[in-house]
Symmetry: C2
Subunit: 582 residues, 2 copies
């Protein structure tokens, strides 16, 4: 069977543009003599749609556009995923849902039928049980030429006893699987292992087609796969870019067919020259994949939202340096403005490092000292508080003043304002609300501090850009509230990571050998900072535990067992919660 | 049957505090001679828990505390809702879930059994299908004294053919229904209608117990209900405050029992004097309920997060006036600081009105002009942009400068910083990101502009506080980007409301008689402002379409049919999205 895959760009809501991209690939597949061309999950509408599917005009236009695509279809069967209306269905609650995620099969001028996704992921970043009804025909089969194919959509494939198993048992000789699978660090390796298992378990080849592109927090990284019935890799598409491929796949021998079979077409395979064997795309290192995700996510957020340039504050620190490099790679250095806004407590050397960085990256650099501005604000507020508290050096005020200036430059110049904060800062609440994390997009939001040093070195290997002095400086969290003495990120990072990613408790961490006081501090700062995290801009998700999407904690939350576990006094509140505004 | 209801406070995560409140009510019910006492949904853990249930130490502690409560239980059966471990179960996706929402029945020193919620709401603000498994025994019955009771939890009651129906058919003579039902404007009336229907359909009395209190965006308003088998109201508890009640309920005659029956106790009803008939709580007007929700939501967010005072900017407008009055009612006027921060374009009269307002409310007032501060910022940035764009009067810069100052006062003085923006502003994006909507909590976030005038008059009826001049002033959105000429809120409000709440499309709105250009403007501003809305603080939900919780749109979203529908030019971006930073 000659199978084409169209790893196209994911553009949410762009029904007409997506239809054009799909039609173009359908025509290309026709020219390639493919029996079938497979598109990613929700290729026509984009993914994820959130509550856009509640808009009736959107749903209707999507259905209309699918009909048009059906009319344009020729000999090559096209598996085009989109939303579909289904009879109202109640499942886990008392609401009827009447939309499904569908894979329409187009051929010979019409829509031959639609498979409806059975398994609707509703965990981590997924919330498909919110608006969609599950399908009710797991054993749907499709005769395409001389082969009987099964179609499963994304989550359908992950169960071990789901639609692929039902379809193979009912007679499928090949499994076609549209996906919208977002990147995180462990994802690409996991996909191949999974596709391989599914193929071996069912004795069928698997054609796994993913989409590409940034959508708010998510980056879809492509990397589509074809494995044979033994689970061996036949083809792998590039990551982080659109690609079309066409390969010969050896379908399994015909089986007794007991499923619900729709005939798409029954043309015998034409005599045609075999396709040349194509090289498998190489996958870069895990850190390099992260870099590509950051660049593509930033590029697509800017571009899809009407911005082609960015502005960011250059502090002379590692966060700003890596953000600047990502922005330069995403938009081109000529479209990035780095703004140093030194305050009363910024060492001269920092602005100098920032200037060196800008020169090495080739981005524009400007410097506006803000000491007199914050001094005016402090003057204005002095004596206002009763009892009067002298406004001392106030890092948060400085950060917020900088943010107001960055927004002003963005407003006037049409730049996308980038926040430079990282995940560790966001975890322990050392970024001021509307200060260090202010911006329309935060590329490093899901990157722990320790990863940033690896990314900086990786970027420097290509061309030296981030000055050595920035890499050598020891990072410290803001310390103003805690009278100095804040622990280092190196000490905090493993505690925070185990608490957040593995859900380890105070007792477990202490048993694992961490200092009890440090554990208490780490856990408390993480919990107290939830309210800050809610007000941060979107950023690129690179882990399976990104704040906001993957992990949603109550802001008002009295669960603070580590307080009872130590002599530390509860800081206030009837139930122990405390807002920190670091 | 003598039935007690404990409409207790909802405190998320406060396992020990909640257990104390529950135990106290159990002892009270014992003294009242009640056969059973019913607590709200997740009374022991608080609701909603979001991903707090992924914390293993939390789950284990909740189970331990339930066992302790079981040991303390005496003759009165107690229906205590909490989370419970269940055998791993797959339902709508490929993840096993091994936690359920349960109603444990405690009596005579032990936990007699647990009912598991069957229907898990996963729409609007609810996301119970994320972490919980559904129960598998809808016909569970509980013998309490001489009566067979059914227990259903919240959503279970809303289906028409769910657990209450199964239980009544299997022999239940009374239905006990723990709830965590958050307030919105239409909710209280809807609850009585529903409970009444369920009672009539099943021929059984219904005891509906809700919790009370603010939890981030949600306010649980109590208003617990008892209806008899004819659907007539027997008792209604107060709204917006904790309450205990004990009433005699006429259970339905015994039925043939075919369900899964657990015997809680079989004591014959003791001889006891009948309870005095208690008056039904009155419900205030819909607007008065909204006012109570705003006050309770603000009070609880502050108090449960360790703050007992608030600061807000007083502009002299209606938003700030209503926010100040809510804060004064929530925390006491002596604990509210109103800060006028007049900029170059603030009329003198505005600060004067703000001062009058503060005096009438009895809150503290301070005034710090900021014209010289924003002038310094503009000077610093002038000439930085290439080509140089003179920084003109910049309302957004002023708003962000004010926000930085409010945060500074909050940081130094321990105030909760309140944002004053309203829902209409948030809809059309006329509030600057990190400017007008800056704060830790935004009481009016879900209140349309037109509602604010009604609320102000309602508050003035109690005691004149909001100056007439503030009520008389015509509100206008910021106009700087659009060269003046922004339409009035009165013209925009109905378009925005129909677009958001009813999902009406451009064509429908134009057919309904609205000006096409105004519709295009309204729809575009709503869609473009999604990215601003993501960075706003939580606020009190008073409608069934609150931003963020109830309606989650993609930020990057190319669906802009109204652009094609008019001659208006797309403003940029490959797919037509545009960030507005008004």
């Amino acid at each position: 069977m000659r199978v084409a895959g169209a790893q196209i760009e994911n553009v949410v809501g762009d029904l007409d543009g997506n239809a054009e991209r799909i039609l173009d690939a359908m025509r290309w597949a026709e020219d390639e003599g493919a029996d079938v061309v497979v598109f990613p999950e929700l290729a026509l509408t984009g993914y994820p749609l959130a509550d856009l599917v509640l808009r009736e005009d959107f749903v209707q236009h999507a259905l209309d556009v699918l009909e048009e695509l059906g009319r344009e279809s020729m000999h090559t069967a096209a598996v085009v995923c989109t939303i579909d209306r289904v009879p109202p269905r109640r499942s886990w609650d008392t609401r009827d849902r009447s939309l499904a995620i569908g894979a329409a099969v187009l051929c010979g001028g019409q829509v031959r039928g639609v498979y409806h996704k059975m398994l609707l992921p509703n965990y981590e970043i997924f919330e498909e049980a919110r608006n969609f009804a599950p399908g009710d025909r797991p054993d749907a089969l499709w005769r395409i030429g001389e082969t009987v194919a099964g179609i499963s959509i994304c989550e359908d494939m992950w169960s071990g006893d789901g639609p692929p198993e039902a379809q193979a048992a009912a007679g499928a000789q090949i499994l076609l699987v549209p996906n919208a699978s977002p990147f995180h660090q462990e994802k690409p390796a996991g996909r191949l292992a999974l596709a391989s298992q599914v193929a071996k378990r069912n004795g069928t080849p698997v054609v796994y087609v993913n989409c590409v592109g940034g959508q708010d927090e998510l980056v879809f990284d492509g990397g589509s796969l074809v494995v044979d019935a033994d689970g061996e890799l036949v083809y792998r598409a590039a990551q982080f870019e659109a690609e079309r491929f066409c390969v010969e796949v050896q379908a399994s021998p015909p089986r007794r067919c007991s499923g619900h079979l729709t005939t798409v077409h029954t043309r015998p395979a034409p005599t045609r020259p075999p396709l040349p064997v194509r090289a498998l795309a190489l996958q870069g290192s895990e850190d390099y994949q992260v870099w590509q995700a950051l660049v593509l996510g930033t590029h697509d957020f800017a571009r899809k939202n009407g911005r082609d340039s960015a502005v960011l504050g250059l502090s002379g620190g590692i966060d700003a340096a890596v953000t600047a490099a990502v922005a330069a790679d995403a938009l081109g250095p000529g479209r990035v403005l780095g703004l140093a806004l030194p305050g009363p407590h910024s060492p001269e050397a920092d602005s100098h490092d920032a200037q060196l960085l800008a020169a090495a990256l080739g981005i524009r650099f400007e410097c506006v000292p803000i000491a007199d501005i914050t001094a005016r604000i402090e003057e204005g507020l002095a004596g206002l508080l009763d009892p009067p508290v002298p406004l001392e050096a106030n890092a948060a005020l400085e950060a917020r003043t900088r943010a107001a200036m960055l927004w002003a430059v963005s407003d006037q110049g049409g730049y996308l304002p980038l926040a430079t904060g990282n995940k560790t800062e966001l975890s322990v609440g050392s970024a001021a609300v509307h200060g260090d994390m202010a911006g329309a997009f935060a590329p490093l939001k899901d990157c722990p501090k320790t990863l940033l040093y690896r990314l900086a070195r990786l970027r420097n290997n290509r061309e030296p850009a981030i000055p050595q002095r920035i890499l050598d400086r020891t990072p410290t969290a803001h310390a103003e509230e805690d009278g100095g003495g804040l622990p280092s990120y190196e000490a905090l990072d493993p505690i925070v990571e185990r608490y957040l990613e593995k859900g380890e408790a105070y007792e477990e961490l202490v048993e694992a050998g961490f200092d009890p006081e440090l554990v208490r501090f780490g856990l408390q700062t993480v919990d107290d900072a939830e309210f800050e995290r809610r007000q941060t801009p979107p950023g690129v998700r690179i882990t399976s535990r990104a704040f906001g999407q993957d992990l949603r904690m109550p802001i008002t939350n009295a669960w603070r067992p580590y307080r009872a576990a130590t002599a530390a006094q509860a800081e206030g509140g009837i139930a122990g919660g405390t807002l920190r505004e670091g």
